[in-house]
């Protein structure tokens, strides 16, 4: 009887010359130390004004899936929502083809992208005022991408794409972002905050922009939701912009990403 070809199920895999486990653990410890230094540096650098969703870490979006503390635990509940709802089931992973860095500042080099397993990097971004360190990853989030880029003259841009179990979870998270943004704008240092609703040009199902300025710095956040995904774009720069124009300015920059988020819509692209 002829051998089945291609012989996918009977392949003899190569034998690899792998380093001992102790060396891998050592590398992991080095990695942990580097991450701690990076996270602390980022927290100190952004502690003053960043209007960021700490509540996302503390617990958001009721009805979400359990914490997926890694890139791909093989359980159906963490990959596709069990209650599909209109247009479901909802995509629970960020597709490889969705480039969250599209349109980002590149003056300081290519943005660094972190995944769900880069817990420390995500924690450093999810802060408001003084950095708050909490265990675990955002409950209800099944996948995420965090991109951090440095621009010219000390500007910085963070983008956080969060995937929830369903649009209700994403919408609840977005509402809490806005609530937290308001609290962050009530600082003691004479900061001024403004919110612009329904940012034109964002192309999202929900969108709003938040701007807070203090001294020479302006922190801007554009929040959008498409289906069960939320994108938060945070820019810190020395350029003062009114809330209305900031919304449109940010919307233009993130539009390629928002367009790609159509995969999370009820009627996906």
């Amino acid at each position: 009887m002829a051998e089945r070809w291609p012989p996918l199920d009977d392949l003899d895999p190569p034998v690899w010359d792998l380093p001992p486990a102790a060396e891998v653990r050592r590398r992991g410890q080095d990695l942990s130390r580097r991450r701690t230094r990076t996270a602390l540096g980022a927290a100190l650098g952004t502690a003053a004004l960043v209007a960021v969703p700490t509540f996302l870490v503390a617990g958001a979006g009721g009805g979400g899936t359990p914490v997926a503390d890694g890139p791909g635990p093989r359980s159906a509940s963490s990959s596709v929502a069990t209650d599909p709802g209109p247009g479901g089931p909802w995509l629970s992973r960020v597709p490889a083809g969705l480039d969250v860095t599209a349109g980002m500042t590149t003056a300081g080099g290519r943005p660094v992208v972190s995944d769900l397993d880069d817990v420390d990097a995500v924690r450093s971004s999810l802060s408001c005022g003084e950095a708050q360190w909490v265990p675990g990853l955002p409950p209800g989030v099944s996948d995420l991408r965090l991109a951090v880029g440095d621009g010219a003259r000390g500007s910085r841009e963070d983008r956080l794409l969060l995937v929830y179990a369903d649009p209700a979870g994403a919408g609840a998270a977005l509402a809490e972002v806005r609530q937290t943004a308001g609290v962050c704008g009530e600082g003691p240092d004479g900061r001024e905050a403004a919110v612009a609703d329904d940012v034109r040009g964002a192309g999202a199902e929900e969108s709003w922009a938040f701007v807070v300025s203090a001294g020479s710095r302006t922190e801007s956040v554009l929040a959008v939701r498409v289906g069960n995904a939320v994108l938060l774009d945070h820019t810190s720069s020395a350029t003062a912009r009114p809330a209305g124009s900031v919304g449109d300015w940010l919307a233009g920059r993130v539009r390629p990403v928002v367009d790609g988020m159509c995969v999370f819509a009820a009627d996906p692209c």
């Binding site: 392949l11 190569p14 891998v24 995509l91 860095t101």
Partner: protein
């Protein structure tokens, strides 16, 4: 064997067992996914290093092996990695000499053929046929519906058969040509 206890972070012994039990096959699977031996080995090593770092979180993950495999694959395809690969010195302590026993001609031919498939089809073929995951588990790992996996599997297998031909390489079909191309590098 080798799987860390759930709800309790791995200690060194657990990790070493987990690594010994799964590193070889994960490296082979990632190699099949990306078609680059050195990159596969490096990414899997880094994924295991991250697993050690994240062992508290990993204790709550149902399938740590899937976690490592996915992390390694993401590392391999991430733009960040491609950007920094050229300027970061490799960790010499983690560098082996590559493979102890080179992959068979058939394995190389299949990997070379897999490289010609769209990424989505390649992933499901590797996870289902080389990692022996049921279709449901492949769907869960990739975050796509089961029917999507089945469709990609069907198309991927058809494409592989087209590339490799209907007969094993020694009979001189297109698969033999792939093997020959691989020999020439």
């Amino acid at each position: 064997m080798g799987r860390p206890r759930e709800r309790e972070p791995m200690d060194e012994h657990d990790f070493d067992e987990f690594y010994a039990a799964s590193a070889q096959r994960i490296t082979s699977q990632v190699y099949a996914m990306i078609g680059d031996r050195d990159e596969a080995q490096e990414c899997v090593q880094e994924a295991f290093a991250r697993a050690w770092t994240a062992r508290r979180s990993l204790a709550h993950v149902q399938h740590p092996e899937a976690w490592v495999r996915t992390t390694a694959y993401r590392l391999a395809v991430s733009r960040w990695r491609r950007a920094v690969r050229g300027r970061r010195a490799p960790d010499r302590a983690l560098q082996g000499t590559g493979t102890v026993a080179g992959p068979s001609e058939t394995y190389v031919a299949v990997v070379e053929a897999l490289r010609r498939l769209p990424e989505a089809q390649r992933q499901v073929v590797v996870l289902h046929h080389l990692a022996d995951l049921p279709v449901q588990d492949v769907a869960a790992e990739l975050g796509v519906p089961v029917n999507t996996v089945k469709t990609r599997l069907r198309r991927g297998r058809a494409a592989l058969a087209e590339i490799l031909g209907d007969d094993p390489p020694p009979e001189g079909g297109p698969g033999a040509r792939v093997v020959e191309e691989c020999r020439r590098g």
